[in-house]
């Protein structure tokens, strides 16, 4: 039996095409995923992301505990609602999960992936030990992502003027909180927008009001192409238990600022960094329209000696080209090749991001 979000019936009514996704029944699209993608770049799209896992932490020990298990430092969260992107590392420095940590009035909240839920909860329980804290899995919450240049007009339909003004003054990765609702300036699309966490029983009302005021219902298909264009990682693709943050463009999220802070995976991370020579994540733009998909090899020389691997590949609706994220060995090469259906196709190598706020930056 798969789990359904509070919006399941709403999606069916809007002709959402439902698929199974890590134990959840979720809409992959509502017709055309390319149109949904472009709507987010030009207008505003709304996504049901209630399949994410919400973990609340309370108690005097939660700060020291999270500073131990997160590679980024929550010490930098100075106000309630402030958020950071972080990895949880294992002892060998591999990425157990990526998440967003929020400072909350009661303590902290982690929003982790649904695919990693069991693993991460087990990991946390194993490491709580002497830390005095209570972790609560919030299965009563829903989450919406409202993304795109017109997002403010959309959310003004259901937010009070006070809250809206408060939000306008916030920077990226900051939030406003009202009762059980948290609205953060975060997202997974490369556009401006918000993510809204709210009790499940209230989510349908907000979804309908947002759609009424111009937010286009969008599915996981568009979410994936948007995040790929934006150069954002997807757990299980760009990163996994054996991949270091150094190898998946996440080194910037590992905070070594406080030299006294001993977080799990720190030693392995520092050793690998010191040693150098590791593979890194790059962006590829292919000459051909064929999509080079996950796990496909890419070659940096003609005799196929130096090779890397595609972590995610798709058709970019914004660039109208086949693009990919790939993990490749250190090299100053600007082009690489991939073999597809017996043909060698060429790609240019660049930074692992293609689009930011509607503009092509590759």
């Amino acid at each position: 039996m798969t789990q359904k979000t509070a919006l399941f019936e709403t999606h069916l009514a809007a002709s959402g095409r439902m698929i199974e996704f890590n134990g959840w029944t979720m809409p992959i699209n509502f017709g055309s995923q390319i149109e949904e993608h472009l709507m987010v770049r030009k207008g505003c799209g709304i996504f049901d992301v209630s399949h994410m896992t919400f973990l609340d932490f309370k108690g005097p020990g939660c700060k020291s505990f999270l500073r131990k298990i997160l590679a980024n430092d929550i010490e930098n969260l100075t106000e309630d609602g402030d958020a950071i992107y972080s990895a949880i590392l294992n002892e060998s420095g591999g990425v157990l999960d990526d998440l967003i940590a929020y400072r909350m009035p009661f303590g902290y909240r982690l929003v982790i992936n649904c695919a990693t839920k069991e693993k991460v909860i087990k990991w946390i329980r194993q490491h709580i030990k002497e830390h005095s804290l209570i972790m609560t899995l919030r299965e009563d919450l829903a989450m919406l992502a409202i993304q795109g240049p017109n997002y403010l007009r959309v959310i003004s339909q259901f937010l009070s003027k006070t809250l809206l003004d408060e939000l306008k003054n916030k920077r990226a990765f900051q939030s406003v909180i009202e009762d059980e609702m948290l609205i953060s300036k975060t997202g997974y699309t490369g556009e401006t927008g918000v993510e809204v966490m709210i009790p499940s029983r209230e989510v349908k009302n907000i979804w309908l009001q947002a759609v009424e005021s111009g937010a286009n219902p969008s599915g996981l298909g568009a979410r994936d192409t948007l995040r790929l264009e934006a150069g954002m990682n997807l757990y299980g693709f760009e990163m996994n238990d054996e991949i270091s943050p150094l190898e998946c463009n996440m080194a910037w999220t590992v905070s070594l600022e406080d030299k006294k802070r001993e977080f799990i995976g720190k030693k392995s991370f520092e050793l690998k960094k010191e040693k150098g020579g590791f593979h890194t994540l790059k962006g590829l733009m292919f000459k051909d329209r064929s999509i080079v998909r996950t796990d496909h090899e890419v070659f940096l020389d003609n005799n196929k000696n130096t090779k890397g691997v595609v972590t995610s590949g798709t058709y970019s609706p914004t660039l109208k080209k086949s693009i990919a994220l790939a993990r490749i060995p250190p090299s100053d090469k600007r082009i690489c090749f991939s073999e597809l259906r017996g043909k060698m196709i060429e790609a240019s190598i660049g930074k692992p991001r293609f689009v930011k706020e509607g503009k092509i930056i590759f």
């Binding site: 992959i28 699209n29 055309s32 995923q33 390319i34 298909g221 192409t225 329209r289 064929s290 999509i291 798709t314 058709y315 086949s322 259906r341």
Partner: protein, 128 residues
Amino acid sequence: MKEIPENYKFLSSHEWMKVEEDTIVAVGISDYAQDQLGDIVFVELPELDSEVNQGDEVAVVESVKAASEIYSPVSGRIIEVNSSLEDSPEIVNSSAFEEGWFFKVEVADSSEFENLLSPEQYSEHCKD
């Protein structure tokens, strides 16, 4: 889903053909197939003048979801390809049975048509 036109014949792998004139047939993929594939982003067309056999893999259609081979429903020579699909493959989504045709074949042996599915048979096949 659009209705299946009457004068079309099908492969169980979702390619259609229809007789254009005498020995010339047009080939494409069914509306059901485009719907299952989702947004189509790339079509690799066969080479002009190449000889193909019934059931040969002759083209590739790629959607955001997956790449699929296209088989020729008939034997013969490729006499025309729909080059508008190169820049606008989404035509296959919007008009699978008409403007979204892939290529035309000059048929070698029209008795091969008997190996193909009728609209009724194809429609039953899609329900399975």
